[in-house]
């Protein structure tokens, strides 16, 4: 069963080539966690383009009753909520209520090449347990006593357009749909909003809308919103016109809705967060595919005002991507290096700095990263939540696995971690969009070795 879809891709290529056999390769299970590319200076191999993109997706088998991901000793993990519909991101309201953003890709991305048909076909074989119900809504979980079992669960906002980011400023609740930031009135304690939203500003959306998740964060003073807008292609194959105002983080004035490009060249920026020591804006970024299994590393970086991070013209500084025409040596020269590589194809989509003290002290001040997991790679990479230690506002060591076990030994996926948040009690929350679960990680020195987990 492992790698059924990748085998298909190989069969396709092999069948087409008949006499010219593509060398078969065995799919190992999880890659070793000791990835040499994790860190500030990843080794970069030469780019290598194959005859057909390597597609290795994990069959989704979901979580059976009582199954959970794994956490290291000293931590405990349990489901906060199950039976959700593609929970993609999380937001904790001041009163402790947890907003679970359930979201599906907008769909309707036009077929422009035969490749789109073939890749869509392969991907459709491994969607998450089918389209079993309505998504594109926000569910509110209230766990007032903090025991990890919500007392109430309600649909907080419904009929949204592929929502992802959420930010609350005073009584204004902002939801970043894929095509607009929408404002809703919120009063403390509400479990459902029925008021119609007001568009603060449209965002680049369809009809292509390749990278559709719009991450959102408000400045501490509430005057500005920052929103991540991913690129409209892997590497400009939909034309440069389609990339207008994309692959960027926009700074939106909350009063007027006017915006400017704050930083650019960020292929798919997500998890916008404030680093607690310096107050700088940080993000996790998904880099380009189809240059080989170890290119290009996805990264965690501080985001500087006016900076250009390379996409599409170059990666990791000045490494020029040969697939982009016309090239722009002037922009390549100005491209700055990201701060910290997370490894190639790990697909980081969630980021949360840890400032609470419910987890072991080791985690304080560092960053948790939710890695959705690879597809363009024979050996899986990602599919876990890692922890990056920080000191003086910068990463200070090797990333560590925190929540693992999303993949089975046979290369099937129980789930895939996406968005992260820290709840009022200091527990780490993990949205699992194909396991349709929100996981809650708590510190539990007294329960180490206890039966039942």
């Amino acid at each position: 069963m492992t790698g059924r879809t990748s085998d298909f891709a190989k069969i396709l290529a092999a069948a087409a080539l008949v006499l010219l056999a593509v060398p078969p390769s065995l799919h190992a299970q999880q890659a070793p966690t000791d990835d040499p590319q994790v860190g500030p200076n990843p080794p970069l191999p030469e780019p290598r383009q194959s005859l057909f993109p390597t597609m290795h997706l994990a069959d989704v088998i979901g979580w059976k009753e009582g199954e959970t991901p794994k956490v290291p000793q000293g931590l405990k993990v349990a489901a906060l909520a199950t039976g959700l519909q593609h929970p993609r991101s999380l937001y904790v309201l001041p009163n402790g209520d947890v907003l679970v953003v359930e979201s599906k890709a907008p769909g309707g991305e036009p077929v422009k090449r035969p490749k789109d048909i073939v890749m869509g076909w392969i991907e459709s074989w491994v969607t998450s347990g089918g389209d079993s119900g309505p998504s594109n809504r926000i569910t509110l979980l209230r766990d007032a006593d903090g025991d990890g079992v919500p007392e109430t669960r309600s649909v907080f906002l419904d009929h949204l357009n592929s929502p992802f980011g959420v930010a609350l400023v005073g009584s204004d609740l902002y939801v970043a749909n894929t095509d607009a930031i929408v404002r809703y009135p919120y009063t403390d304690g509400e479990t459902s909003i029925t008021a119609a939203g007001t568009v603060l500003t449209p965002l680049p959306g369809g009809p292509i809308d390749h990278h559709w998740t719009k991450s959102l964060v408000a400045t501490p003073d509430g005057s500005k919103l920052y929103v991540g807008v991913g690129s409209n292609s892997n590497i400009t194959e939909n034309g440069l016109q389609a990339e207008k105002n994309r692959a960027a983080i926009l700074e939106v004035d909350r009063a007027s809705g006017r915006w400017r490009i704050f930083a650019s060249g960020l292929r798919n920026p997500n998890g916008l967060s404030w680093e607690p020591v310096t107050g700088a804006l940080w993000a996790v970024v998904n880099e380009r595919d189809e240059l080989g299994p170890d290119l290009v590393p996805d990264y965690l970086t501080s985001v500087r005002d006016g900076a250009f991070y390379g996409w599409p013209y170059s990666y990791w500084g000045q490494h020029v991507d040969p697939r982009v025409k016309p090239q722009r040596p002037d922009l390549v020269k100005s491209a700055i290096l990201p701060d910290y590589s997370l490894g190639s194809h790990v697909a980081p989509l969630g980021l949360a700095f840890y400032t609470a003290d419910a987890l072991p002290a080791h985690y304080r001040g560092g960053a948790f990263v939710g890695e959705h997991g690879s597809w363009n790679r024979d050996h899986f990479n990602g599919y876990k939540v890692v922890f990056v230690p920080f000191a003086n506002g910068m990463p200070s060591g090797k990333a560590e696995d925190v929540v693992t076990g999303f993949l089975t030994g046979q290369g099937e996926a129980h789930g895939r971690p996406v968005g992260l948040a820290v709840d009022r009690t200091g527990a780490l929350l993990v949205a699992d969009d194909v396991g349709n679960t929100v996981w809650r990680v708590t510190g539990s020195p007294q329960q180490v070795g206890a039966a039942g987990d």
Binding site: L17, P114, T236, E237, G239, P322, R323, K325
Partner: protein, 151 residues
């Protein structure tokens, strides 16, 4: 060969080889791919690369289907086997198949390198191979014409 001795020429007259006619569709697609590749290489307008991907993929898939049709025809219509130059033509067609298949896969890459330089080079090679194969097919088609006048 359970054919009646008088029939082969008449069969050839009534039913000319089907495969060369089908193969002309393949040739049209693959040669178009060279033209759209040249357009993309000289403009970098992505529409041309998309066109190339479509016509080369269509040409390649049809080429495989018509190769199968040719093999079936060869098996089912024994008199076609006596045409001179058939083996050479089959070889030429196989070269087109292999080049076009590689070219189709190269054209699944994203943006510039789906065409320049490997895709464009393969499109040129494919087009040359198509021309050679078409030339090798001439005796197969013209023999059929001779059969019309000879009896």
């Amino acid at each position: 060969m359970a054919m009646s001795p008088a029939l082969p020429r008449l069969d050839g007259l009534a039913l000319p080889a089907l495969h060369p006619f089908l193969a002309s569709i393949v040739a049209t697609c693959l040669v178009s791919g060279l033209l759209t590749d040249i357009a993309y290489a000289s403009t970098a307008v992505i529409m041309w690369a998309d066109f190339s991907a479509w016509v080369i993929s269509a040409g390649t898939i049809l080429a495989w289907l018509f190769a199968i049709a040719g093999v079936i025809e060869y098996a089912a219509r024994p008199w076609l086997r006596h045409r001179r130059g058939l083996g050479l033509y089959a070889l030429g067609y196989l070269v087109v198949l292999v080049l076009a298949t590689f070219n189709m896969l190269i054209h699944t890459r994203d943006a510039w390198t789906s065409v320049v330089p490997t895709g464009l080079a393969l499109s040129i090679a494919t087009t040359l191979a198509v021309l050679v194969a078409a030339w090798l097919a001439l005796p197969l088609v013209s023999t059929a014409r001779k059969e019309v006048v000879l009896p």
